[in-house]
């Protein structure tokens, strides 16, 4: 593939799409909004096309493992391929909003997903247990404020001292919100910089362009 098609064309598409989106958001120019809507629709369509690539790739990856009879794993790969194509064919045949499809979806996938979310509670407890140790002044302040916020949120806290709830609210509304907004502003500036560099072709890392790849290599000193 020539360098023009491989590098210049994607950059041109990104530049034009980015300028249309900026134009829609910041300037009230007639006609831009409808073009921007079309671009958004195109983006969704391209992403949906990638779904086909993904389905084929997942099938191929799993088939390779099935054919190789990867020890202890190939039955799971087989099961994955069977389920993948069952859902695709079933969805195409009955439609993703049909009663039968939704029954399967809600009673299998949604239930399994809810179970996974249930596991997160235990992971959170583990994380809290490891993190909530006083190692210095900063972690001490964090734990003290977390303890106060927790006491303000639970009913027994109110029984111990009625002042916990207002104190908890103050911690959340003043120091916490202030620091959080500061971080959000900083993140927004960073996001703007990345978007700007991407739109104007200054950051090419998303295309795997070599500028970043050569990083970290120590320059050889000439004798």
């Amino acid at each position: 593939m020539s360098a023009i098609v491989r590098q210049r064309l994607p950059l041109l598409i990104v530049l034009i799409s980015g300028l249309i989106m900026i134009g829609e958001f910041f300037f009230n120019v007639s006609g831009v909004a409808s073009v921007a809507a079309e671009v958004r629709f195109l983006a969704v369509t391209v992403a949906a096309t990638a779904m086909i690539v993904a389905a084929v790739s997942v099938t191929m990856n799993n088939l390779r493992n099935i054919l190789k009879r990867t020890k202890g794993q190939w039955p799971y790969h087989l099961w994955c391929v069977v389920l993948l194509w069952f859902w695709i064919i079933f969805g195409l045949y009955s439609g993703p909003t049909s009663e039968n499809y939704l029954w399967f979806f809600n009673n299998i996938l949604a239930a399994l997903y809810a179970s996974i979310l249930g596991i997160l509670v235990f992971s959170l407890f583990m994380g809290f247990y490891r993190s909530f140790r006083i190692r210095g002044i900063e972690s001490g302040i964090m734990i003290a404020s977390a303890f106060l916020v927790m006491l303000g949120s639970i009913t027994i806290g109110d029984l111990i001292w009625p002042g916990f709830a207002p104190l908890s609210q103050w911690i959340l509304a003043v120091p916490n919100a202030g620091a959080y907004r500061g971080l959000i502003i900083v993140m927004a500036i960073g996001l703007m910089a990345v978007a700007f560099k991407t739109i104007f072709g200054m950051d090419l890392s998303w295309m795997g362009i070599l500028r970043s790849v050569t990083a970290g290599k120590k320059k050889e000193k000439r004798p």
């Binding site: 399994l112 596991i119 997160l120 971080l183 993140m187 500036i189 790849v213 990083a215």
Partner: protein
Amino acid sequence: MLFIELAKRGWKFELRKIEGVTAMEEGVNRAVEMGRPVHWTEGHPFGSKLYDSNGPYLVAGLAILNYVTALCARLKARLLVNIGHTELFPVVHELVRYIYVAEGAADRYVDDDIQLMPEQSYAIAVVGRMERNSVGCHIQTGYFWSQDMVLVPEVAQGIGAIVVTGAQIDAVPYLIMYSSSVFIADEFFAAAADITKDPTDVGGMMGCEWLKVVAMFLALAGSILVTLGNNVLLGLTNF
């Protein structure tokens, strides 16, 4: 743009060393010493798409993947990549393959090592693959949501991997609990500048630093003016 132009013209800007980048290098080196693979992932597509407002997080994550891939190719570490976004899948395939070729390690590129994980069961699928391969270093940079910012790094830490993470600000408190090192706030975007030392990246980050100063000044001035009963700056936000 001004700072990028100045950096290109040879102005020297000093950026502080980002701890996450050092941690990534240490993590990959440790994985090589232990003979275990390195793992990278960018989250599942529930909260982000490459073409929505959270897209820059994924793009910044790809910049880090770029570096991790180059490190792995150079140090002969096996790199496992799990993708949650279908639209990123072909991009990442091309990117990783391209870097392996550029590093002269095309023979070590394995197509199967890059896999797409389904949306609903993303975290469980990723966790399963990490455990089966006993990864030595786990790097996750992108946009993360519930299960992927809690379960995935927790399991990675459980199997003894060095965990380096970077994500949107909502995820950072959780990631701090489970990670050896975290890119906090704009460090995530500054990582590329620290890695490449490229004038475009360094100049861009310097511009961001000055924008931060302006934002701080405006916040301070706005607070004082509003306290004194003057809403001039507040009115500017409603243009």
